[in-house]
Amino acid sequence: MAALQLLVNGLALGAAYALVALGFVLVLNATSAVNFAQGDLVMAGGLLAVALAPLIPLPGIVLLPAVLVLMAGLGLLLALAAYLPLRRRPPVSVFISTIAVGIILQNGAAILFGPEPRAAPPLIVDDTLHVGGLALPVQSLAIIAVAALLIGAQQWVFARTQLGRRLRATAQDPEMARACGVPVTAMILVTFAIAAACAGAAGLLLANRYFVTPTSGGDLILKAYIAVTIGGWGSVPGAVVGALLIALFEVGVSSVLSYPVALGALYLTLLAILVLRPQGLFGEAVRRRG
């Protein structure tokens, strides 16, 4: 019984992490830039839901479209301010600029909301389902469903639409895509918007059960980075699997061992993957020609 409850919690956490990692890897693929503001965008999404809750006193699921749209706008701003002006500069420039944006977001949130931890409204209801001896939080089940839906929708867009093909072309080879008439700059802007929307959705999903503070994005960017490294640098399915693995360690392994040991085991696993399979679980091996 307890194992099932832990599994549901782990899946919910993993699903939310997957959204964060997905946004991270999309930007990475499209621009080769590491967006270190991704965790702070999650925080921004959570606080946005907190801010919208009094204005629209409805369950979080109703707030979700508004959060997605507003966060997509924030993603566009991030691209315009921190990526596009520096795109022809060394990668470290973008790396630094996204860290700067993250700090601006943190301090902006501290000014607007104060330092107190806050909870976003539940997606549906703040209740627990009792099935047999199981106590399943409705929020956990809703997180799994909503995250799966968003990830599925995103994959459908990428696989089945003209926009998706252009986005993939931009991610694979921007120069070739440009030569073929793809508006690469516009596609990069769309990618940043989608990544920020993913982060915002994750923020809304996480902020009810796990709360949100102006500084809570820091842990999440680290987890996204680890997820992408485990899954394969640039691999979308890899990012999702990596995120689920992190949650498995955090919830599953820590229920058998202790949390610090589980965390140690996660890092040892990461190290082993880096040594034995540097391209990650789903990444493609790249060989240098001597």
């Binding site: 307890a2 409850q5 832990l6 919690n9 782990g10 956490l13 301010a81 921190a82 002006p85 520096l86 500069r89 420039s93 630094i96 600029s97 700067a100 944006v101 700090i103 601006i104 943190q106 301090n107 902006g108 501290a110 000014i111 104060g114 330092p115 107190e116 931890p117 806050r118 909870a119 703040d126 627990t128 106590a135 939080p137 996480l206 059960r209 796990y210 709360f211 503070t213 102006p214 500084t215 842990d219 955090e250 919830v251 599953g252 820590s254 229920s255 202790s258 949390y259 610090p260 965390l263």
Partner: protein, 383 residues
């Protein structure tokens, strides 16, 4: 690129400056006695640091008659270097009487040698035990250390609740390790051995695993020593899992911002140790402080705010009594006894001024706890 980076750095500086802007504007006069407030307003301790600032600012509004008081608030962030720089800057700007100093232990440890060199009293609510173990006569702590609060915590569990099989869940941070060590010592003094002990990282998002393991050890009480967010998270998960074992939490639980994350029903029967709980009232003076705090900051005060308020009030009492130099203020703090709003303060010779703790409990109908037990010098009785 340069222009863009410059713009970003400018924005960064602007937001940091705005985030650290104090509520006390501090128009400094050259002849005024200055009391800088150097506290962490950004970073992981911003919640507690903001309470500390607010308490100091409110106290410094009580200007003694005929004396010009000045102050400025500076955000020390989370780095020791920033705290030292803030102290150096404050010392060089006007006639400083005393400093309301950061509650972050690592910053205090960095500031202490400089305070001794500059001969400036540091008034703080930092809980880090070692800040008063340096042989530095310029530090004054207006918040009970872990030795006091954890003794009260353990004694309430054992003596009042009659529980002898506690499961202890603590944070893996320095704060958590220190509290856990003092809890162990206090339980040992009471002849009790915890049936379960585990540390959790503050970044842990789900506390059901540790809760499940703790309950598997068949405890008769859950003893928590966690930060604000994790405390609320564990209580929420305990409530949704139908846990019936009583829970006695650490001081983070008493903070109104922690209780705000939970429904009153989720708090039913939960108790916590703390230095004070201003929102619980108790005396007309505490209620007046709470009303003034709400009016000034639009928030609920906590024990950190009240502790810093009491500390700065004791400093101002010394000024009223004729102390006009940092050394005269230091002597007054070191030798005096002060009846503050939270408790009676007196130095133990090392700068530890606070020696009392209280236990508060929630009845499930509101987020305001009731004071149920007070311990004065609880460590003496536990030995």
């Amino acid at each position: 690129m340069r222009r863009t980076l410059s713009l970003l750095i400018g924005l960064l500086a602007a937001t940091s400056a705005l985030a650290s802007f104090g509520a006390f504007p501090g128009a400094r006069a050259d002849d005024a006695l200055s009391f800088p407030v150097l506290v962490p307003l950004t970073g992981f301790l911003s919640l507690e640091g903001t309470s500390q600032r607010n308490g100091a600012v409110l106290a410094l509004k009580q200007t003694p008659a005929g004396i010009a008081i000045a102050s400025e608030v500076v955000d020390t962030g989370t780095s020791p270097e920033a705290a030292v720089t803030a102290l150096e800057r404050a010392a060089g700007s006007g006639r400083v009487g005393a400093v309301a100093a950061s509650m972050l232990g690592t910053q205090m440890l960095a500031m202490l040698p400089l305070a001794q060199e500059l001969k400036l009293p540091l008034v703080t609510v930092s809980g880090t035990a070692s800040i008063t173990e340096q042989g530095n006569p310029w530090v004054f702590r207006f918040f009970p250390g872990d030795a006091v609060t954890k003794s009260a915590h353990a004694r309430y569990v054992v003596e009042e609740l009659g529980k002898r099989q506690p499961a202890v869940i603590y944070q893996t941070t320095a704060y958590g390790q220190s509290g856990k060590a003092h809890l162990d010592a206090a339980f040992k003094a009471l002849g009790v051995t915890p049936v379960f002990e585990e540390g959790v990282d503050p970044a842990a998002k789900d506390l059901l695993p540790v809760l499940t393991k703790a309950l598997a050890a068949k405890p008769d009480v859950l003893v928590l020593h966690l930060h604000s967010g994790p405390t609320a998270l564990l209580l929420k998960q305990a409530a949704s899992s139908g846990v019936t074992v009583p829970i006695v939490a650490g001081s983070a639980m008493h903070q109104p911002s922690t209780a705000a994350l939970l429904e009153p029903a989720e708090l039913k029967g939960v108790c916590a140790e703390t230095a004070a709980s201003p929102v619980s009232g108790g005396t007309p003076e505490v209620e007046a402080f709470t009303d003034a705090y709400r009016a000034a900051f639009g928030k609920e005060p906590d024990a950190f705010a009240l502790g810093q308020y009491d500390g700065m009030t004791m400093v101002l009492e010394a000024v009223k009594a004729g102390a006009r130099s940092p050394d005269a203020i230091r002597k007054a703090l070191a030798a005096g006894t002060f009846q503050g709003l939270a408790m009676t303060y007196r130095s133990d010779g090392k700068g530890n001024m606070a020696h009392s703790a209280v236990i508060v409990c929630y009845d499930g109908t509101s987020r305001v706890p009731a004071l149920v037990k007070r311990y004065d010098d609880p460590t003496l009785a536990a030995k």
